[in-house]
Symmetry: C2
Subunit: 370 residues, 2 copies
């Protein structure tokens, strides 16, 4: 069939609430744009642990492998802090990323004009900000072996007698493929890539720098490439974020730098992400889409959550999985219109006021604007 297949994994906290609004959007595109979606639902994270004792069942994993795109809400919550590391909600998400081999995590940090005053940064520093962080997502210290906590009893100098180990490990091939993603994306944007690592203190950073340079010199000499130490990168993101176009970096640096970048925009509840892997036999990349914000357990179940990040993640799915760029833009423009009209979930309500709406009212407004 020509239907686009989706697996929806709402997860924990506000995940189910915001995902419910995405379902409305999907229905709208089916009813009004002749698209056909084949939608399955499943559990991930704490929700899956509660039902099955594991943050992701093998069955759900297999379904994720088979669909065109996975839409994920959020995972985690204080309720699960006591769980063993191996069954923590996060392990479900990490397993999806790893087994689907979603090596390129695209995190746009965009400052929406109507919301520029929400940033803790000065308007003139962030207005019009539009950068894209490409984070490596399947390797590095998140997955490297050996790892674990061991006893170190034979070491009399080690008060406490334990040692904790993780391994930062990158192959040249892993670096090259995510570098290619970054260069490809840059060509469709500002044509500039800045690669970040700590090559001054870590050999894995030296390899990172050399391989990104190699891909540039051999395959993308037309794209402007620079290198920056990650600590300086964090500084520059705070000082003058608009100097960047595309940033490419590893799994751990990408986690931290993309969160800092997201916060710069003042629009955390607005930011989507896409995690992409290699093309499947139908030509579509393995793909998972999720909002950058977390599960926000403090406001879960109260109709306060902002569904826009999750809805814009679906727009990314339209663009990157289904090549429906025009539909994606239609959806993005509807979101912009609703914001320009002053419609505001609680997180977006500033001193200048606006029309306060609940999670589901925000979804309805976006549908109405479509």
């Amino acid at each position: 069939s020509d239907a686009y297949s989706l697996l929806i994994l709402p997860g924990d906290g506000i995940g189910p609430e915001v995902m419910a609004e995405v379902v409305k959007v999907i229905d709208w595109f089916q009813a009004n744009r002749g698209m056909s979606f084949d939608v399955a639902h499943g559990l991930v994270g704490g929700a899956s642990y509660d039902a099955h004792g594991t943050p992701l069942t093998d069955e759900t994993m297999a379904r994720a492998q088979a669909v065109d795109a996975v839409l994920l809400g959020a995972v985690g919550g204080p309720k699960y802090d006591v769980l063993d590391f191996s069954v923590k909600p996060e392990r479900g998400l990490l397993r999806l990323r790893k087994e689907m081999d979603l090596f390129a995590n695209l995190r746009p940090a965009q400052c929406f004009d109507a919301l520029a005053d929400f940033s803790s940064l000065k308007r003139e520093v962030v207005a019009g900000l539009d950068i894209l962080i490409v984070r490596e997502l399947t390797s590095g210290v998140y997955f490297g072996e050996p790892r674990g906590i061991h006893s170190d009893d034979n070491n009399p100098d080690n008060e406490g007698g334990r040692v904790g180990i993780n391994t930062q490990r990158y192959t040249s091939g892993e670096i090259r493929r995510v570098a290619r993603s970054a260069f490809e994306l840059a060509r469709k944007r500002g044509n500039k890539v800045c690669s970040m690592e700590k090559a001054n203190v870590m050999e894995s950073g030296i390899l990172w720098r050399e391989e990104v340079q190699w891909v540039h010199d051999n395959e993308y000499p037309d794209v402007e490439l620079s290198h920056m130490y990650a600590d300086n990168g964090a500084m520059q993101l705070v000082r003058a974020p608009r100097q960047f176009d595309v940033i490419v970096t590893d799994n751990l640096f990408g986690d931290i730098l993309s969160d800092a970048a997201a916060m710069l925009t003042g629009s955390l509840g607005m930011l989507p992400s896409a995690s992409l892997g290699a093309p499947m036999t139908n030509g579509r990349p393995k793909a998972l889409y999720e909002p950058v914000h977390g599960s926000a357990p403090d406001i879960a179940g109260q109709g306060k959550a902002n569904p826009i990040a999750c809805i814009l993640s679906f727009a990314m799915a339209l663009r990157y999985s289904f090549n429906e760029g025009e539909a994606a833009e239609t959806l993005e423009r509807a979101v912009e219109k609703v914001l320009a009209d002053g419609v505001r979930t609680a997180d977006l309500m500033g001193p200048e006021g606006g029309t306060p709406v609940s999670t589901s009212q925000m979804g309805d407004r976006i549908i109405a604007a479509l």
Copy 2:
């Protein structure tokens, strides 16, 4: 003798210029406060490589071990980018930190009132900011073994055929001792510690969290302790930095988060740091003091550099090495006065103007204010 012994290592770039102003300050305290300093000079970083083919000679290392305090300017520069990893300027600094066992790196991020408008953040977000980041400095991924770049030729899936490895490794003892430093410092400040790691994805982060909690529960139950994932920490630093008092974190997270925090203040040229180890036989801790800013090769040798961070690092030496808290405050007040008078090096010159001064004029003004 009762003299305080110092080893001055100006290093590279603007290091020598800013250190020259510290020497004036040292002389002032000798002439006017009856203090006696025994001052030796040496080379580190690229300057040492140029002279001796190594970023730190064994002789300088031995001298650093013997003095009460090392004052360091900055290391590194593009000239040395081509050098092999083992002789890069940074290795000199890392060797000092490691062999002197300077496990607690104190990085205050303070927003000076006269300079609050320099921050890219809104004045109301950063005015009065005064946080202290305590970064573990002798372990973690900076020093863990195994490390290096190896060939991976037998792996047909690895295009490029290489692999880069670093090891994040912490013992419980290493975590406990830096946690104690953080709790001690917090007691003299806001009595609050926030510990940051990625316990949701790294076992070394779990160990970190458990050991910090152990030290708290057994030795510092009176200090308020919270834990935060490092990515959220980066966000919160951008969103609302004044929520923090003391932050304790590992070597790599500390590198990145402290640089982001420094940039928040808009006063990078103003921020000092202290790196402290265990007490020596004379009761003073092993100690190295350095400005947070780097070697700034682009402005080196032009009299443009701001010497205040380096001078305030000497104030930290007075406080932490020599227990001369009053003298430290005298010096800090002199710096504040000069700033309030509108005296400005180039980096501090904003739209409201001020009296432009060179590096050495700034030093002279501070001496005059003493």
